[in-house]
């Protein structure tokens, strides 16, 4: 897909980076480290390939995040390699990090516009780390439907203005749910793709 804004409007490569910053970078890096220990450079490269599209991470963001994760005991340096340039640290996830990323993956996101990016990231990381991606999607479906039930009750008790406002939110949530259902149906395909 081409990046930029063309006559047809915003493409995926414009849309994704605009919303990708709302998700947790720390958890995403933890998930990548759970897949296998890496150097900061490799983590950035894998992140950019999978999630960065045409808005790659800055090295500063990567090392600042790794430093915070290190300070919080979620990652550790398991090797320091000397090279031609500065020493290279290889990071690995700790037990506390695995628990933290597991809790983040299992926690449903608050239904809101442009959620797909975070959910897509969660699903890919679940597949990479051998977790049940279908459960993540089902938990999110449950959370979306819970909010839709709440809006429906508000709509039934409200006046026409309430109904129209609630309908607007309901149609957006319905679109999210259709994406969740379609992704659910494509999980086997996606599992093969992320392991390539």
């Amino acid at each position: 897909m081409e990046g930029g804004v063309g006559p047809g409007g915003y493409t995926c490569h414009v849309y994704m980076p605009c919303i990708v910053t709302v998700m947790s970078l720390g958890h995403t890096l933890l998930g990548l480290l759970e897949d296998h220990p890496s150097h900061g450079y490799d983590i950035k490269r894998v992140y950019d390939e999978r999630f960065g599209h045409d808005r790659p991470l800055h090295y500063g963001q990567v090392y600042a995040t790794l430093s915070r994760l290190l300070k919080n005991g979620l990652v550790e340096v398991d090797a320091v390699e000397a090279g031609d340039g500065p020493e290279r640290k290889r990071y690995s996830i700790t037990e506390a990090g695995v628990t933290d990323v597991g809790a983040w993956l299992a926690r449903p996101e608050s239904p809101e516009p442009y959620l797909q990016s975070t959910l897509y990231t969660k699903v890919v990381l679940a597949l990479l780390t051998g977790r049940a991606a279908a459960d993540i999607l089902d938990t999110q479906r449950g959370e979306h439907l819970r909010l839709m039930r709440e809006l429906t009750r508000r709509k039934l008790d409200g006046d026409l203005a309430d109904q129209l406002v609630c309908d607007h939110a309901l149609f957006h949530l319905e679109a999210d749910l259709r994406w969740l259902e379609l992704t659910s149906a494509r999980l086997d395909e996606l599992a093969v793709a992320v392991r390539r």
Partner: protein, 227 residues
Amino acid sequence: MTADTLLKAEGIHKSFGSTPALSGASLSITAGELVAVMGPSGSGKSTLLHCLAGILRPEQGSIDYQGLELTTSADSRLSALRRSDFGFLFQFGQLVPELSCLENVALPLRLNGMRRRPAEERAAEWLERTDVADLAAKRPGEISGGQGQRVGVARALVTQPKVVFADEPTGALDSLNGERVMRLLAGAARDSGTAVVLVTHESRVAAYADREVVVRDGRTRDLTAAI
């Protein structure tokens, strides 16, 4: 089985030839509860509904309706149960084309042995409740799809059933008419204390339910419990 459980299916298996439709599906419903059954096309949700209503007989598993095991009950017993305790609402209304709307709504009462006049009086009350009293004398071919479904809601509830089985009741309607039908169905069922098993692929329709169960590959999962 808790005291207020009305219908409980456990470990249902049902195949059509060599194709499995349900592979261990389970579902329980309490009195007055509205449960949405969701899932992709071909997942087995309509088959589950037909098993719960005693229309299809599963090969394995149990379905308990107030102490009666449906999987081993005689066809005649199941037919009587469907007339007395269950109501049905389908995607395309399935009204009898030769009968007027009033006669269609009165039909389940007449099949239960009620005399014509009281049956039609009660049918007229239900047409009034579902906002289609003016259609009483018309035949199904003379009314719109949305109006037909409102007559269908009246027919499903006229016997004051314990459970209504609704299979994609808004599937053939536009958003506004679908909304009207769901308001009527959910409102009337709650007022009457009738439980509803609602098969739908539309999440906006499922949002009228108290909880949602998803059927995938012939198995059930309660999404409300998943949160």
